[in-house]
C-alpha cells in the first residue's frame, strides 16, 4: 500500500508527536456511576471507555452456574457513535471475541472460589474509539472490579505495542493502527508479570516480538500506577474534606 504519510519522521517523532516508547495520555476516575457496584471512566489518548461491575450476584440462567466458583462475564461493546462510520448497535463477532478474551483474563486474577454459583458481570462500553480499545477496556475493568470490592490477586492492566515503519513502538495510536505492520495487545498481572491476555495481528520477527512484548509490559506497569492512584484518589478526597 502506497503511503504518503510518514509514521515516524526523521527526528523519531510519531504522527501525534510521541517518541517510540511514549504512552498516550491516560486519565482514570473510579466510582463514577450510581447503580453499579463498581465503576470506572477512563480516557486513553482519544479513547473514552466506561466500565461497570455488578456482583457477585446469582448467576442466571441457572445452567450457567458453577457450583465451585463465580463466573466472570465481561461484555465489551462499542457505542454506535464511537467510530467514524456509525456502527450498528449490538455485539458483532469482533465484540464477542474481545469479550471472551477479556473474561478469561479477568478470571485468572479474580478470587472466584469465594463465590460459588455466582456471576460477576463486567460491562465495558467504548464511547469514543481511537485504537487500543480492548486494552483501555480491560484497564478500566480492573479499576471497576477493585472499586466494587471484588477480591482479586492483582489488579489487571493492559497495553499494546506494535510495529510501524519498521520500528517497534509502544501504544499504537490512530492511523498507526491502520497503517502499521503489527499490533500486540497484552494484559498482565502487574505484581507477577503473568500474561493474562495476548493477541498479535500482523508480521513480526521473533526478535521484534520480544522487544514489543517487553515494551507492552512496561506500558502496562505505567498504566497500573495510574489505576492505583485513581482508586486511592476516590478516598483521599473524602479524608481531605476533614
Amino acid at each position: 500500500m502506497e503511503l504518503d504519510i510518514k509514521l515516524i519522521d526523521d527526528n523519531g517523532k510519531r504522527l501525534d508527536g510521541r517518541s517510540a516508547e511514549e504512552l498516550r495520555k491516560i486519565k482514570i476516575e473510579a466510582g463514577v456511576l450510581h447503580r453499579a457496584d463498581g465503576s470506572c471512566y477512563l480516557e486513553w489518548g482519544g479513547n473514552k471507555v466506561l466500565a461497570a461491575v455488578y456482583g457477585p450476584r446469582e448467576a442466571i440462567p441457572r445452567h450457567t452456574q458453577n457450583p465451585l466458583r463465580a463466573i466472570v462475564n465481561a461484555r465489551y461493546n462499542m457505542a454506535a457513535f464511537s467510530v467514524e462510520d456509525r456502527k450498528r448497535p449490538g455485539p458483532d463477532r469482533r465484540s464477542r471475541e474481545i469479550s471472551k478474551v477479556i473474561s478469561e483474563a479477568l478470571e485468572k486474577v479474580v478470587l472466584t472460589e469465594h463465590f460459588p454459583r455466582s456471576a460477576i458481570d463486567v460491562n465495558i462500553e467504548v464511547l469514543d474509539a481511537e485504537a487500543g480499545t480492548r486494552c483501555a477496556g480491560l484497564t478500566a475493568a480492573g479499576v471497576a472490579l477493585a472499586d466494587a470490592g471484588i477480591p482479586m490477586k492483582d489488579i489487571p492492566v493492559a497495553c499494546a505495542a506494535g510495529k510501524i515503519a519498521g520500528q517497534v513502538v509502544l501504544d499504537l495510536g490512530k492511523d498507526e493502527d491502520n497503517f502499521g505492520d503489527a499490533d500486540l495487545p497484552v494484559a498482565i498481572s502487574p505484581r507477577t508479570n503473568e500474561i493474562l491476555l495476548l493477541q498479535m495481528d500482523g508480521h513480526l520477527t521473533v526478535e521484534e516480538f520480544n522487544k514489543a512484548l517487553d515494551l507492552a509490559i512496561k506500558g502496562c506497569h505505567a498504566a497500573s500506577e495510574i489505576q492505583k492512584k485513581a482508586i486511592l484518589d476516590k478516598y483521599q478526597s473524602i479524608e481531605g474534606a476533614e
Binding site: D37, G38, G55, P56, R57, E58, P67, A70, L111, H114, F115, P116, R117, S118, A146, D147, A148, G149, I150, P151, M152, K153, D154, I155, S189, P190, R191, K228, I231, L232, Y235, I238, E239, A241, E242
Partner: protein, 226 residues
C-alpha cells in the same frame, strides 16, 4: 484517636510475611508473603494482618442479623433476598408460626420485609436464615434504606454507641442489618432526620472525628426543631 492508622490498601499490595505475622481476613498468602485481596483498610494491630473492605457486596456470616425482602413463597419455605451473592432460604420450621404445608403465602409474600438471622451456611455457600430469635419478625411500617455493607460497623458504632447517640436526640426505632439494610420507624420528620444522619455517617465513614461532628449536628437539629 488520631493514633489509629487509617491506611488504605489495594488488591495485590504486599502487607507482610508469614514468618512474622498471621494472615487474617481480606488477605491471601503467596510465596510466604501476606497480600491484600481487596480495596480496604489495613488492620495490623495484633499478630494478625486483616484488611477490612471499603466496598463490596454483603458476605453473610452465621449469626448476622439482617433485613431481607421475600422474593418467592415456595411450599417448604421462602426465598429471601438478603443482598448477598445468592438468595437465602427461610424454612417453614424456622418461623414462629404454625404453618400448614402449602400455606406459606398466607404468612409471607413477595415484597414483605423481615428481620432475620443467618443461621447456616453450607459448603456450597447456600445461606439459610431464621426468624426464631428474640425481636425477629415481619416488619410493618417505617422505612427501609440501603447503605454500603462495609459502612455498617461505623453506623452501629463501637458497642452500638453511634446508634445510641442518634436515639438520644431523635425519637425513633432503628434496626441495622449487617447486610446494609436499615429499618427506621417514627413520625415522618424523625425518620427524615435519622436517614440524613445515617447517610452522612455512610459518606464520611473513614474520616476522623466523625462521632463528635454527628453529635454536634444532632444537638443543633434538636434545638432547631424545638
Amino acid at each position: 484517636m488520631p493514633n489509629e492508622e487509617r491506611k488504605i490498601v489495594l488488591p495485590s499490595q504486599i502487607l507482610g510475611d508469614i514468618k512474622s505475622n498471621k494472615a487474617g481476613r481480606g488477605t491471601f498468602i503467596e510465596n510466604g508473603k501476606i497480600i491484600s485481596e481487596k480495596l480496604g483498610i489495613l488492620n495490623a494491630n495484633s499478630n494478625f494482618i486483616n484488611v477490612t473492605p471499603l466496598e463490596g457486596r454483603y458476605e453473610p456470616t452465621v449469626g448476622d442479623f439482617i433485613i431481607g425482602v421475600v422474593e418467592e413463597a415456595l411450599s417448604a419455605g421462602w426465598l429471601v433476598d438478603i443482598n448477598a451473592p445468592s438468595p437465602a432460604f427461610l424454612h417453614v420450621n424456622e418461623v414462629p408460626w404454625d404453618i400448614e404445608f402449602g400455606d406459606t403465602e398466607k404468612y409471607l409474600n413477595r415484597g414483605d420485609s423481615i428481620m432475620a438471622k443467618v443461621s447456616q451456611i453450607d459448603e456450597l455457600k447456600k445461606f439459610q436464615i431464621t426468624l426464631k430469635d428474640r425481636n425477629l419478625y415481619k416488619i410493618k411500617g417505617g422505612h427501609i434504606i440501603e447503605v454500603e455493607p462495609s459502612r455498617v460497623p461505623r453506623i452501629i458504632g463501637k458497642k452500638g454507641s453511634m446508634i445510641a447517640l442518634i436515639k438520644k436526640y431523635i425519637r425513633c426505632r432503628i434496626f441495622v442489618g449487617q447486610n446494609g439494610k436499615i429499618w427506621v420507624d417514627g413520625d415522618t420528620e424523625s425518620i427524615e432526620r435519622v436517614l440524613q444522619t445515617i447517610y452522612k455517617i455512610e459518606s464520611e465513614a473513614i474520616t476522623f472525628g466523625l462521632t463528635n461532628r454527628i453529635e454536634e449536628l444532632l444537638k443543633k437539629d434538636a434545638k432547631d426543631v424545638r
